[in-house]
Symmetry: C2
Subunit: 255 residues, 2 copies
DNA sequence: TAAGATTTGTTCGTATGTATC
DNA sequence: GGATACATACGAACAAATCTT
């Protein structure tokens, strides 16, 4: 794990005890190369290992828990365990960073237009039938044009799930996370801020056709075409959402 | 702030009390539209507002503190305050997500090659003389070819700072964070894993020339050229680092 | 099903540390 | 330096969850 912030001399002792304990435990996990699911020392042991009160130790554990680094269970066989940070939690934590910042729809699409085609191109000819099938299953949610605004919103969320799922299939975890994060932000905007487009049969038709073409290109292994189709798809989506003029994302996080 | 994870019926009560309190405080901040620096209720008030013990409240505050959402100060006038999540902390928290995942140099550069030229292109003609001067000042660190491996490493870190700084100058906070995060990862790899290139005068010359050309293009407002130069620069950097065959990033986080 | 063991979760009272006036 | 207002830390007890028998 990462070392901690710059420490002016004497800072070590000024640093709160829970922080100190949390750091020590992180170091301990890294040094031993512990893996998710591995057991950590129990409260009782930590108490006398560090010579601190129970409350102090527990505060340290909460610091780690909030970061998704540990999980705790009660009862026999319970205790603290190394936890794998989930994509959802990482998204939520990163979302906090943008809470007080100004991020526009255009900002998001500038990045999406650069990354989504890249992913699509790299995935051509590399997806299993099961994966392609799963994408097609998601598309069922918008097989028919939306009748009202509410359904339009549901369809939009489903189409974002299409992209999120696609981002899971690539071998590049970094690229996958970035793309999934943006899909998450847009989903939040759609659901939470009730941002939606009034049903428009023409756009529905075009968007759906894009995804059908995309699937075909992915299946046949036509990388260049997958990339081009995705790019068109993104540009259309951007124009669509920009029309809404909704801008910021005002959302915080999970635990 | 974001709502919390899916709640099966009854989960509300099973959720630990610190978690419940942390959620409530997040909601409170969002509802009132509090800004960084704004005061939160003191321990005493929270204790009787929620009807819980001090320890419980304190654990809740640690959950929020770890996410960078609050800061606390002791003494008169002290207490808890809404905190702005810093870029450094967000990077560190996100870094944890990748700790147990496999991220290769190639993964990083695949994304860098897509995003850095985008940023460079959008910045052409938009930087102040002060900003351009700052970039040039960073370049001073590698005005001369490195004499040994240690200096080579320092130069590499400086050149990454060049990119990190550039990412701050753009108006797109999302794009800026992604680029800065990758620069951070590469810096960690360079410093922490002692990944470095043996000094190579030819490559040093080419890399430096790229950045000089880039500055010139940025200054003159030649967007297409800035983009092209950055792309060449990234491709060279990728080849350089790939030769090291260093792969994973093994690093955790700060507090 | 029930009882017991184990481990985290929560409370309360008290004392200490720290920064401001 | 002393008083004040806050967070920080301690320790002992009790509650709740969950596994085993």
């Amino acid at each position: 794990m990462a070392e901690n912030p710059p420490q002016d001399p004497g800072a070590r002792s000024r640093r709160s005890r829970p922080l100190h304990v949390a750091d020590a435990i992180k170091d301990w996990v890294v040094e031993r190369g512990l893996q998710p699911g591995d057991r950590l020392p129990g409260e009782a042991e930590l108490i006398d290992r560090f010579g601190m009160a129970k409350g102090t130790i527990r505060e340290a554990m909460r610091l780690l828990q909030a970061q998704g680094l540990i999980e705790t269970k009660t009862g026999p066989g319970g205790g603290s365990f190394v936890g794998e940070v989930t994509r959802e939690r990482a998204s939520a934590l990163l979302g906090n960073y943008f809470y007080f910042r100004h991020v526009t729809i255009d900002d998001i699409y500038q990045v999406r237009i650069a990354l989504e085609p890249l992913l699509a191109g790299s995935l051509a000819g590399r997806l299993s039938d099961a994966q392609l099938g799963e994408l097609e299953a998601i598309m069922e949610a918008y097989a028919e044009p939306a009748a009202d605004a509410e359904e339009e919103r549901r369809q939009h969320v489903a189409s974002l799930r299409f992209h999120a799922r696609l981002s899971d299939f690539g071998g590049n975890a970094l690229l996958g996370f970035f793309i999934g994060f943006m899909a998450q932000i847009l989903t939040d905007l759609t659901v939470y801020k009730r941002l939606y487009t009034t049903p428009n049969h023409d756009l529905w038709e075009k968007g759906r056709q894009h995804q059908i073409d995309l699937i075909a290109a992915l299946r046949s292994g036509d990388s260049a075409r997958a990339k081009a189709v995705m790019r068109s798809h993104m540009e259309m989506a951007r124009d669509l959402m920009e029309a809404q003029q909704a801008e910021v994302l005002k959302r915080f996080i999970a635990e």
